[in-house]
């Protein structure tokens, strides 16, 4: 399976931090600033959401971001322009739903979309409604253009399914910390340690997401054995607050940058701990 160098490298450090924002939320211009702020805050990889009208895997925070972005005129074409306009050096992963990938380029299946993404330097995809069973055509196109296809492993994933995902995943594996949909929580799921231990053998970096909100969460997750931490809703919340309060874009960008910094530092702190004691460390972190 072809891999994208960029993602591999991003996870080469002690503990990677992977923030998510929806492109175009709440406006094209502001969103450019916000995404760039993530890099300044210390992001190692950025997941950039291309909004779909039916985001079945998202909690209300990201659903609302999707609505703001769509109302601001976001489309797949604009998304590619957005990527082109972005001034960041860290690798970008496009997070979207399969129908948008599928429809791009006159119903020819996923290839045109992947080709375009590759031409703009995107590094890979996360597609929450595309399980390993249905991923064949996209996997092929990614291979052809040298992009990564990130899969999610859920707490319920077990047995054959793990193997099926392991065979297809590249870039990193997205370890879903808890059942449910995206959304910031006040504790770290105690399923995390168990989830990670099932994946100990995998030779792909393990990034944990779903519900992570604070630097302390990030620390606990990395201490539990993760190679990286993915945070979406906690950052989108900042965008939403700024939008609602009409805060100047620069100020919101500032807040995003410092939140990113907090999370990245948390992750690094976790990486400094004794891997042997990681299990307990996670237990200690909750309930906060």
């Amino acid at each position: 399976m072809a891999e994208n160098e960029a993602l591999n490298e991003a996870f080469a450090g002690d503990a990677a931090f992977v923030p998510y924002l929806a492109a175009g939320d709440p406006s094209y211009e502001a969103s450019l600033e916000y995404v760039e702020a993530l890099e300044r805050g210390g992001a190692d990889v950025i997941e950039l959401g291309l909004p779909f009208s039916e985001p079945i895997a998202e909690g209300s925070t990201i659903q609302e971001a999707v609505v703001r972005s769509l109302e601001g005129g976001m489309t797949p074409e604009r998304f590619f322009e957005f990527v082109d306009d972005l001034d960041v050096d860290v690798p970008l992963v496009c997070m979207t739903y399969y129908n948008l990938i599928y429809q791009y380029g006159d119903d020819e299946g996923p290839r045109p979309f992947v080709e375009k993404a590759a031409s703009l330097g995107l590094s890979g995809f996360v597609v929450p409604d595309l399980p390993a069973e249905e991923a064949g055509p996209l996997r092929e196109a990614c291979d052809e253009f040298g992009l990564d296809l990130v899969f999610i492993v859920a707490p319920t994933t077990a047995g054959d399914r793990l193997k099926r995902i392991m065979d297809q995943v590249s870039g990193y594996v997205y370890v879903q910390a808890r059942l449910g949909v995206t959304g910031a929580k006040d504790d770290v799921s105690d399923q995390t340690g168990a989830s990670l231990s099932r994946l100990r053998e995998w030779d792909v970096p393990k990034a944990v997401g779903f519900g992570i909100k604070t630097g302390e969460h990030a620390r606990a997750v990395v201490a539990a054995g993760a190679d990286g931490v993915i945070v979406g809703s906690a950052l989108v919340d900042i965008v939403a607050e700024g939008h609602e309060a009409d805060t100047p874009v620069a100020e919101t960008a500032e807040r995003l940058e410092s939140k990113t910094h907090e999370l990245k530092q948390g992750a690094l702190a976790g990486a400094g701990e004794d891997p042997e004691s990681r299990g307990e460390s996670l237990a200690e972190s909750e309930p906060t």
Binding site: I56, P76, Y98, L100, Q103, E134, I152, R161, V181
Partner: protein, 411 residues
């Protein structure tokens, strides 16, 4: 096709979050064992409960006045007489019972018009499982009686406030609940849509419609029907009415979608003023399956429209999409006005007040009397009691041929 019908030609599949995949595998396994192989006598119990609780078998009734009007033999498959007032209970009862066999402890479902929600609430009460129904806030306020019925049956009704607050959003929200509580919860999907094995399983639960109708038709007319007509939203009553006739090459199968107010699409507004995915939609992926969808050029799903909330959905069952592509099923559509006129016509001529969804099938007959064979079966998917208020409202806005002025008696 495999035994479990994961794909129907290009259509179908399982486009769901990974968190749900184990549940879907578990469900597939249960479907194969209990439904397809009658393990532990599941199908026997299902059939018995459909009979005792649901009231099956249901008649195939000759419609004397329509037969005269169209100079042909018109027969009505009376799903409106099923407990709850629509075909929906066939599926709801099957799935809730299956959930029980699987050891699930909680039922969730989405609903648009409230027909599937009420059917699921009834089945859950009957089988003693707690149940929560997701319903768009706008639909809640449009379909008060059905909300009351669900609550009276002991179900929670959870308002969905995202988007336009209708069926599409309710399905998405139910999938989110399922992804959160997948271990002890079964999601009773309301039509032949969603990821495999739902489309095949829902079809199998509804296939009793055509199983009965086929036998009844042979008994009553001495042969098979020339035409079978059913309305199509997601397409569950449709596939239920067609399933046992698919192999009968001489029987034409007509799926009548909601033409709404127009077949044109307003891409800028994200609106298709119809629900005719089979006739006008494009292939795409929504709610777990690849199928025909109402979507814009980018793949964003359009807001659909129909005078009947039960047809008001931007997708359609993958098997139906496939059978249309194959030429086995004919896709037709009928607009709001014609459906409304058909609602009045059937009520007046036959003493049966159909659901507005069902009225579309009768609207198609009225517009295509020459296309009817010697014997036509129409699936009366539900009764119209739930639609009285909106029919009155919509009738007042229009000049409906042959409509009575229902309001005139009130002072």
């Amino acid at each position: 096709m495999t035994a479990t019908d994961v794909k129907f030609g290009e259509y179908g599949g399982q486009y769901v979050p990974e968190a749900l995949m184990p549940a879907i595998e578990e469900l597939t396994d249960a479907y194969e064992r209990y439904v397809l192989e009658n393990e532990d006598g599941f199908m026997d119990e299902f059939r018995q409960r459909l009979r005792d609780f649901g009231g099956r078998p249901l008649p195939l009734q000759r419609a004397d006045h329509l037969s005269e009007r169209y100079d042909t033999e018109v027969y009505l498959k009376r799903e409106d007489l099923l407990h709850g007032g629509a075909h929906k209970l066939n599926n709801a009862l099957g799935q809730v019972l299956l959930a029980k066999y699987m050891g699930k402890e909680r039922i969730i479902a989405e609903t648009g018009a409230g027909q599937h929600g009420t059917a699921t609430a009834m089945a859950a009460a009957h089988l003693g499982l707690p149940c929560e129904i997701y319903m768009g806030e706008r639909d809640i306020n449009r379909q008060r009686p059905n909300v009351f019925r669900m609550k009276l049956n002991g179900s929670e009704v959870n308002p969905v406030t995202t988007g336009r607050g209708t069926l599409k959003e309710a399905i998405s929200e139910t999938m989110r609940d399922w992804a959160t509580n997948v271990e002890d919860t079964h999601y009773v999907i309301g039509s032949i849509v969603g990821p495999a094995p739902f489309p095949a399983m829902v079809r199998d639960f509804h296939a009793v419609i055509s199983e009965e109708a086929r036998e009844q038709c042979k008994e009553q007319t001495g042969g098979l029907p020339d035409t079978v007509v059913a309305c199509a939203g997601g397409g569950s009553n449709t596939m239920g009415a067609f399933a046992n006739f698919v192999e009968d090459a001489d029987t034409e199968l007509v799926a009548v979608e909601a033409g709404g107010s127009s077949l044109d699409v307003d891409e800028a507004a994200g609106v298709a003023p119809n629900s005719a995915s089979l006739s006008t939609g494009d292939e795409g992926v929504l709610h777990g399956a690849r199928t025909k969808l109402l979507q814009d050029g980018d793949g964003q799903i359009l807001e659909s429209h129909s005078i009947s909330s039960g047809l008001d959905y931007a997708g359609v069952g993958p098997e139906l999409a496939h059978l249309v592509d194959e030429g086995r099923v004919r896709a037709a559509n009928v607009d709001d006005d014609a459906a409304l006129a058909a609602f009045h016509r059937l009520s007046r001529l036959e003493g049966i007040i159909p659901a507005l969804e069902t009225a579309h099938a009768f609207g198609w007959m009225e517009e295509n009397p020459d296309e009817l064979g010697d014997v036509t079966i129409v699936n009366v998917s539900g009764r119209g009691d739930k639609d009285l208020e909106s029919v009155i409202e919509e009738t007042e806005k229009r000049d409906v041929e042959g409509a009575v002025d229902v309001g005139e008696v009130f002072r």
